[in-house]
Every structure is written in structure tokens, then in C-alpha cells.
């Protein structure tokens, strides 16, 4: 028996925060690779502290649905899951290269394969590109387009910026988009000045956030000048300073995210090869272009 637990942040205030977690979990359930799949939250239920006891399997893959490596993945989740003997060194990460480690949970005795967060997995770059395809409704988007990968910045965690820069660089090296830049909400280069950083007339803006909420629905659209008041909405694309801004909303809502969760579990030894193929077929660009 193998089980998957997706560990996400959740919210006390925003009902939509857990939606992407549920949707990705359902995609993975439908692929049938795990005997059990369960969502778990820092702010909702089942909490990190109690999710393992609801799972029957002796071996559980825990994948954090978080963007960066840091406070939550290195302190909160291992502590709350009661992973005995956890040390961040076990991931041997430079801030964007977390792997996985296997530890016992002290309360249930289950064997936990604790994986790095989805946000720093290589496959996340594909999701960002897929998000650009989705928002432009163009499976070949790239030529003549700039791509801005947007993150929170360093306010609480330096790895937060590293993850954004890592994917921006990785996608840039593919040469698909004319320009790829990492932009931030609270440090330079700032999202407020998005049009100054690009020569391309068309700019796709993909925020590296797990769920839509205050930042992605209110802050970023207003900061970029897509709208004066988020409540009145904005067009996709919206023209700003002679550029067309294609703003995608949180990357974490892209269905292909389910693939990254599976890739994390696969890297930790889960037998999910067929499920990965199925999920990619259902949520990848082939699927999007046939819609």
C-alpha cells in the first residue's frame, strides 16, 4: 500500500485557498497510483498534526504544496508531522534543489518519505510555461513574447526569491520566449515597473503562488496597472504603457501542478510512472490545445 499526503497552507479567511489542493489531489486520485490520497493543511483540517492517523498505509509520501524551501518546509511541516530525526541537511539543498528523505513519524510509527516542495522541482518550469499557454490560449506561445515569473520576494525567506530566479533562468535557457525575467512584489526588480523590464510588446505574467488570494487577485493586478480597483476586474490582455499584459493568476491553479506532486513522490521512490503519464496526458499542453 502506498499513500500520498499533500501538505498545503490553507486559510482561515479565504474559502478558495484549499481549492487547488483539492483539485490536484482529485487528479491524482483519478490516476489511481496511490491507494490513498489525503489533503492536509496548516490552517485547515485535517491539520498536519493529525493527518497521518487518518491514513491506513504504513508508508506515506508527504509532498508540500509550497513554492519555496524554507520556514514551512524545513521547520513547520517536519515538526507538526512529528518526523523523528529530521534535519534540513538531509535534503542537501542549495535552496532550490531539495530531494527527499525517509523518516518515522513518532506518533503513528508510519514511514514517511518527506519530499521537497513542488515549487522548486524542475517540472515546475513546465507548469509555468503551460500557464503561459493557458492564459494566451496558444500552445506555441513564445516568439514575440516576454515572460515574467513573479514571486513574493525576500520579506521572510531568501529562498523565496531563489525559486523564482531558478525557474526564470531555466525557462530563459530554453530560448522559447524572447525574454524571461524574475520580478518581485517587495524587492527589485519590482512588478510595479513590469513594462520597463521588457522590450517585447506582449508580456505574460505568471505569479509563482499556490492559490489565488489577496496577492494574486488584488495586489499584483493593481501594482501592474491592470486596474485601479481589483473589484472591477481587468481584461486579458490589458494594455499598459504600450505593452499587452497577459496576467495568468496563480500558477498553482494550473491542472498540470498535479504532475509536479507526482514527480516529487516518484523522486522519493513512489511507483507512479503510469500515473505521471496519465496526468500529463490529461493536464498537459496536448490536452490544453485540444480543448
Amino acid at each position: 500500500m502506498q499513500a500520498l499526503v499533500i501538505a498545503a497552507h490553507g486559510s482561515h479567511l479565504n474559502a478558495g485557498s484549499s481549492t487547488p489542493t483539492f483539485e490536484h489531489a482529485d487528479t491524482i486520485r483519478a490516476a489511481g497510483a496511490f491507494d490513498e490520497v489525503r489533503e492536509s493543511f496548516w490552517k485547515e483540517e485535517p491539520p498536519f498534526r493529525e493527518v497521518l492517523r487518518t491514513v491506513d498505509a504504513d508508508e506515506v509520501h508527504v509532498v508540500p504544496l509550497f513554492i519555496s524551501e524554507g520556514y514551512f518546509t524545513e521547520q513547520v511541516i517536519p515538526r507538526e508531522f512529528r518526523l523523528e530525526g529530521w534535519d534540513p541537511e538531509q535534503w542537501d539543498s542549495d535552496g532550490t534543489s531539495a530531494s527527499s528523505t525517509t523518516l518515522p513519524a513518532s506518533d503513528t510509527g508510519q514511514t514517511v518519505h518527506y519530499c521537497g516542495p513542488v515549487g522548486t522541482h524542475d517540472a515546475m518550469s513546465d507548469v509555468i510555461v503551460q500557464r503561459a499557454e493557458s492564459v494566451t490560449d496558444d500552445p506555441d506561445v513564445g516568439e514575440g513574447f516576454g515572460l515574467a515569473v513573479v514571486g513574493h520576494g525576500t520579506e521572510r525567506n531568501e529562498n523565496s526569491a531563489k525559486a523564482i530566479e531558478y525557474h526564470a533562468q531555466e525557462i530563459g535557457e530554453r530560448g522559447r520566449f524572447d525574454e524571461v525575467k524574475a520580478l518581485f512584489m517587495d524587492e527589485d526588480p519590482e512588478i510595479d515597473d513590469v513594462t520597463e523590464y521588457f522590450e517585447s510588446e506582449d508580456i505574460v505574467v505568471v505569479p509563482l503562488f499556490i492559490a489565488d488570494g489577496y496577492h494574486t487577485e488584488e495586489d499584483i493586478p493593481e501594482d501592474m496597472g491592470l486596474t485601479d480597483d481589483y473589484r472591477t476586474g481587468y481584461d486579458v490582455p490589458t494594455e499598459v504603457d504600450g505593452h499587452r499584459i497577459w496576467y495568468s493568476g496563480a500558477v498553482g491553479t494550473e491542472p498540470l501542478m498535479a504532475d509536479v506532486v507526482l514527480e516529487r513522490a516518484a523522486d522519493a521512490g513512489a511507483d507512479v510512472t503510469d500515473a505521471i503519464e496519465q496526468v500529463k496526458a490529461e493536464t498537459g499542453s496536448a490536452h490544453a490545445s485540444s480543448d
Binding site: S11, H12, L13, N14, A15, S18, F22, D26, R29, E39, W42, K43, E44, E45, P46, P47, R49, E50, V51, R53, T54, D56, Y71, Q75, V76, R79, D107
Partner: protein, 361 residues
């Protein structure tokens, strides 16, 4: 299923069976069979098969609990509890199951009934307030995963951050669930409650009390630990009274101030235990830690006796969530909206200060 059940039972008989009043003891190639205390002997497997087939309810009951019901201990025990399996003999239980046995779990009404003579159970689930509502008037669901969506909002469409708040929406039903599915649906409505309930019954509930829970916090919640300044535990009584009362959460609070110090507030009557302060309590406690760090000041207000009582009534109405119930024209209720607006018009200055008294003095 009876044939299948008999096959499985005869196979299992080699290791002996003792279950719900059915006993099969293998002895030197033959079997001693006791059903509800009456004994007989079977010399061969075929005789055993014939003998127990006279007690089909015992056979299907044994099969259901060993081959159909989920075997994870807490799920199994929860399902057994639903039909009172430990208290009711098979004959009595099967008779009751014909009509359906009903239990309540939080605000869930769970009914289990036999659907055929093969011992198959059907579980149905709805809000306890919908007990008497005809099924066709309720939205019908078949997939336990739907419970996640139903649990998200209350009847007024407001987000429910706490799954065990007594605000579960009404108007839906799961009329036909299997044993696996009902356990799963209950876990989506009230996550981990049956697991913790089972642990408690086994004497293994791992309670984390207030002090150790706040000690564990880091990041923005690390500050809560500083609220415990060796000044007793009265503040934790207030937290429990505010957040954990049955009117706010259906879990029965089992955590105390610490292992040695019980809180003075009742933990409630819930079926399932609460094993540690939840994230809502910790979030609120973070706010209270900051607020309670303030020093009291003396303010002087002039109020009529009725105005003082009115302020008390308004606080009460907000704390009990009763403001929506107070009718617009019911000016006899102290927390009525017109009455409250009058009070504000009379007593507040332009800056919103009560009786014109500045907060900072």
C-alpha cells in the same frame, strides 16, 4: 454472497473463529460450533458448512466484518459503533438493521441498514436537522469527496474555517454509501474525528495541552508562549470559554492548561475529542497575547442604567452570534439595530469615541 461467505468462513475455521456469538473451534479434523451458546459438532468441512448455513445472519455478519468492512482499526470500530455491534447480539441487531439504525456524529445523521439477506449494509448520511425531510427535497450526492465542498460554507454561504463548528449546511444527502465510503465522507466532514475517538476509546489519545502547544509554536505564533508568564491559567480559561464551548465547536475539549492543571471550563459534550488547541485558537491567542500585554487605564463614562445594560446586551448578542436573529423593529431588544444606532448617535463623538472620551489619555 451467502455462498461466498460460507466458503470464506469454512476456510477461516481452521484457525478458529470467535466473533459476535459465533464460535468455531477446530479439534483434530472436526469442529465444535457454538452459536449464541448452543453447541454442535461438525466432523467435516461439508458438515461445518451445512451447520453454520442454518445461521445465515451469523455467517454474513462474520463475513461483512472480516471481508467487506475496512480493516483499519479506527474505521472498523467506528462502523461497529454505528450499529451498536458490541452491545447487540446478531439476531437483535439484524432485526434493527432491517429498519435502519441511526447514530449522530456532530451534526451528521448516519443511518445504517441491511439491503439484502447477504448482510450487505447501506449507509446514508445527511444533516441531523434534515432527519424528517423527504429525500427528493435534498440534493443527492454519491461521491464522498463532495463532503469537502459541502463542509466549506454554512447555510448563509459563509466560509467555515473550522470543520467542527456547529454550522454545517443543510439540504443534502448521501443516500447510498458503502462502509468504506461512509468512513471517508465522515472524515471529509469532520477530519480525523473518528481516528481520535478510537484512540481515546483505546486509552491512547495523545493530548497536547495548552502549555506544550504554545511552547512548540515558532514564527509569528512564537509570541503566544509569552502569554504564559507564570500568572496562573485564567487567560486559558477565557480562551477555552471563547473558542471551545459547544456553541462554537462540537469537539469535546480534552486538553487542559498542562498535565497537572485542569482548566475550570467544561470541555463540552461532543462525541469526539479535541486533542490540542487548534490553529484557530492559536491564531486568536496570538492576537490576545498582544492585546493582553496592554496596561488597563481608568476611563470615566456617564451612562444611564439602561445604557449600561444595553452595552452588555450588545456584547452578549455579538458573542452568541445572535445579531441576525434580532428583528429590525424589535426595539424592546437591547441589541436591536435601531436601538444601537440611537446609542451611537447619542454617545459617540465625531471620532467614534464613547462619550467623547479619548482612548489615549
Amino acid at each position: 454472497m451467502l455462498d461466498e461467505s460460507l466458503d470464506a468462513l469454512v476456510t477461516a475455521a481452521n484457525d478458529g473463529i470467535t466473533f459476535d456469538g459465533l464460535e468455531v473451534t477446530p479439534t483434530n479434523g472436526s469442529y465444535t460450533v457454538a452459536v449464541d451458546g448452543e453447541s454442535a459438532t461438525a466432523a467435516t468441512d461439508a458438515e461445518l458448512r451445512s451447520l453454520v448455513s442454518d445461521h445465515p445472519d451469523h455467517v454474513t455478519n462474520w463475513y461483512f466484518w472480516h471481508a467487506v468492512a475496512p480493516q483499519k482499526q479506527d474505521r472498523w470500530s467506528f462502523l461497529r459503533w454505528l450499529e451498536g455491534a458490541n452491545e447487540r447480539a446478531v439476531a437483535d441487531r439484524y432485526e434493527r438493521l432491517e429498519a435502519g439504525i441511526v447514530e449522530t456524529w456532530g451534526q451528521l445523521r448516519i443511518e445504517v441498514a441491511l439491503v439484502d439477506t447477504d448482510g450487505n449494509r447501506r449507509y446514508s448520511l445527511r444533516h441531523e436537522d434534515d432527519a424528517g425531510v423527504p429525500g427528493e427535497e435534498l440534493d443527492t450526492h454519491t461521491d464522498p469527496l463532495d463532503a469537502r465542498t459541502l463542509a466549506k460554507h454554512d447555510d448563509d454561504g459563509r466560509y467555515r474555517p473550522l470543520k467542527t463548528a456547529p454550522s454545517l449546511q443543510t439540504g443534502w444527502q448521501f443516500p447510498d454509501l458503502t462502509a468504506d465510503q461512509v468512513v471517508s465522507a465522515v472524515d471529509f466532514f469532520y477530519p480525523a474525528t473518528s481516528s481520535n475517538w478510537h484512540k481515546e476509546r483505546e486509552g491512547e489519545l495523545d493530548v497536547s495541552h495548552w502549555h506544550e502547544t504554545v511552547e512548540r509554536q515558532t514564527g509569528i505564533y512564537g509570541v503566544v508562549e509569552t502569554w504564559d508568564r507564570g500568572e496562573g491559567y485564567e487567560h486559558v480559561n477565557w480562551v477555552a470559554e471563547a473558542c471551545c464551548d459547544d456553541s462554537q465547536c462540537l469537539k469535546r475539549r480534552e486538553w487542559q492548561y498542562d498535565e497537572e492543571t485542569e482548566l475550570d471550563i467544561d470541555g463540552g459534550d461532543g462525541s469526539f475529542p479535541c486533542r490540542e488547541p487548534c490553529s484557530l485558537v492559536i491564531s486568536a491567542a496570538r492576537k490576545w497575547t498582544k492585546l493582553e500585554g496592554e496596561q488597563p487605564a481608568t476611563y470615566e463614562f456617564e451612562l444611564t442604567p439602561s445604557e449600561k445594560e444595553q452595552i452588555e446586551a450588545i456584547i452578549d448578542a455579538v458573542a452568541e452570534g445572535k445579531t441576525e436573529e434580532i428583528r429590525e423593529a424589535d426595539v424592546y431588544d437591547d441589541a436591536n439595530r435601531y436601538r444601537t444606532r440611537f446609542l451611537r448617535a447619542k454617545l459617540f463623538d465625531d471620532e467614534g469615541n464613547l462619550c467623547g472620551v479619548d482612548t489615549e489619555q
